[in-house]
Subunit: 139 residues, 2 copies
Amino acid sequence: MENLLIDIKSVNTESDGGLSFFESNKDIPFDIKRIYYIYDVPTEVKRGFHAHKKLRQLLWCPYGHIDILINDGKNIKTYTLDSPKKGLVILKGYWREMIWKKENSVLCVAASDYYNEDDYIRNYEEFLKYAEEGFWNEK
Amino acid sequence: MENLLIDIKSVNTESDGGLSFFESNKDIPFDIKRIYYIYDVPTEVKRGFHAHKKLRQLLWCPYGHIDILINDGKNIKTYTLDSPKKGLVILKGYWREMIWKKENSVLCVAASDYYNEDDYIRNYEEFLKYAEEGFWNEK
């Protein structure tokens, strides 16, 4: 799997808290066209359940603990976002499910392109067919 | 003051939480080149204490309550970010101070350009001089 758990650059102080930052096409390998964030999710609720044909994303959790399950059609790998200093780059083609593990956890996402419903694969059988064809390896 | 408190587009559900989103050059009037976020800040601590010569930013608070004091050199206006659905666009030239009002509050910022120390005004007397000259009205 080509998804990348990265350390987000951070400046932390004893008394005033921490600051983490990343820049488009420098710290992550794409433009930032869209930001979205998810909140008020009850503990143990799962969201996601889709893949993208082209979109690339960086996920981070500025507060709380969220587990991200990444599925390439054959294997599922769980990434734990339990620190604001961790980021997960999800490349195109992977099915993702996110599980809220702590009350008030926030998931933020920086996406490489604008919203486009045609880029979503929301049907799991369709995803498996795409995955079988190895579509995420295409340039 | 030209700073704008905006409603961030949101999709909320009863059982699975809420999702808010914005897109560069559509919902906000600039590119998104840099993201940073601030966390683990004790309640009543203030941060900020600077202005930018050119940078524009969108601030949002995905969890908690943070007050943003915006100063144009003559007046100070307080904006309350106490909902993930509120965003504050800060145009160039304004001195800002942020006060953490609730434990574990997170401030996220989408900035129009990469980090550039030369763009910062960190000295308040220097800021007042810039403000006197009305520099934020320049195109």
